[in-house]
Amino acid sequence: MSVESSGRLQAMAWIGLLLIGIACFVAAPALGLSLAFWFYLALWITLASGLNIMSGFTGYLPFGYAAFYGIGAYAAAICVRKLGLNIAFGLAAAAVAGAVLSLIFARTLNLRGIYFSMVSLALAAICRILVANLPDWMAGGSFGITLGVGYRLGSYYALLVVMVATLLTVTWLARSRLGMALRAIRDDPDTAEVMGINVGRARLKAWMISAVIAALTGAIEAWYSNVVDADTAFDLLISTKAIIYAVAGGLGTVLGPVIGVIVMLFVDDMIWQRFPVLNVFLLGLVIVLLMMFLPRGILGTLLWHKPRLRRVLF
């Protein structure tokens, strides 16, 4: 098969999958299926893919990813509740907040590996504490903020839009020059610099895109669940779950996080139904086993052993 036709096969397969996926998601509420399940499925797919931009493509593991999620949630909540604006403004404000925060944290991108991850974690914790200690009239203090937007279904469709946009962005990244630059940075930042790639700028772009995705997700979730509070919005588990789901599927691939989320949520749901007491324990065990036997993730391992599948899956 020629390179061109294999590229088209890949594109067709991907578009086909995407359309089927979208159809399922759109139809789900109409069929009376559990909105909660499908909402959170879309949410984690979006978050894991957003994280993938930083970790799979650029090689950073932001343990404080939740900071962007939380700031987005609060931006939306404050707009809607304290300023009385429409939720659309809230979402826009969330995106801006995410971008601004990522700029503030941009200096940390100079760090590598574990240092970056720990500093990221610390920054998210500081965000949480600061927000929790803002005066009540500003950010609800201990009570958090209740949005009271209503039209919950709207949040679901908004999330679908963001999810598709995220997946398309990641797809574009995988093919574009920026994406190649990022992967070069991930593999060896010094060599990338030598080759003429503007490491700082490329990284920053990826960082901002990643942050905005998380912020929008946080804002939409606030709309859906109607309440934000500092502990849940900046929860470490948000970052770690996104990382684990992305890794479980396969970092650096487009479909990886999607597969990872679907499989892990399915497993988690099954565990929750049968063994609610052992839920967390089994989740931990699954993570350990995954890292021991499938460290490249499901898709990653599959592609490693059968590289010819790269024609269709990526």
Binding site: L111, M118, A122, N279, M292, P295
Partner: protein, 294 residues
Amino acid sequence: MTTLLLFQTLVSGIILGALYGLIGCSLTIIYGTMRVVNFAHGDFVVAGCYAPLVLLGLLGLNPLLSIPLVFIGFFGLGMALYYLIMPRLRRADDPELASFLSFYGVSLMAGAAMLYFFDADTRSLNYSFHPSVLHIAGLLIPTARVVALAAGLVLIALLTWFLYRTLPGKALRATIMNPGAIGIIGVDINRLSGLAFGMAIGLAAVTGVLIALVFPAFGPFSGMDFTLIGFVVIVLGGLGHPVGAILGGVFYGLAEQLSILFLPQSLSPVVGFALLIGTVMLRPAGLFGRVGLR
């Protein structure tokens, strides 16, 4: 705010700092020898908090006397865990990430296990010393804290002796300094790492016993808090420097207690995190370290 209050706070800071330093010490041994970030470290500390509870209940054993038992038990557990997980992880493309995440999984399992056995209510060690408070130099210090500090100092002394005067200890320090070279001179790095891991877990658990004496309560999910404290401490002290960790711990302890004194308690954790960020960005070798680790 009186000077009395200030001195009380400083003493508190030093005592807690010594314990935090011990946590950092054991964590840095693991990182230094294996470049593994043990996300479950705090959970082993908390397990160590529960151990004297159980031993006191079952055998009526004085918490101080339970220390050797706890150490041996957790040493074994540590080594077992090492041999179970690490060899596989070493073969991954990215062992650091793989071990980072798998120890997060271990952390979840440990927390859930403790939850199952002990319920989520916070527990306390119902062991009081008589008298419960000592008057030293005009300050009121709970006896339990003085005892914990003394025990902690003994542990630090033992550890220093081990690291600087015994052959395995020196091998350990050599591994931290240069893991590649160690293999060349014929040391079985796998066995040494297993030993180091077991020791570190044992030490973490024993630190937990002391923490149970000092803190009024703990719960199965306090693990992550201690893990984070451990990280701040080892960054302050320089990754891979056990003695630096102790100093880093004391520094952190003082900073923490002083910040509670001067700031509202709900804001005080910011100081610890700010210290971490500041040290990493400005002095990555740590306040007391000499060379940053690759």
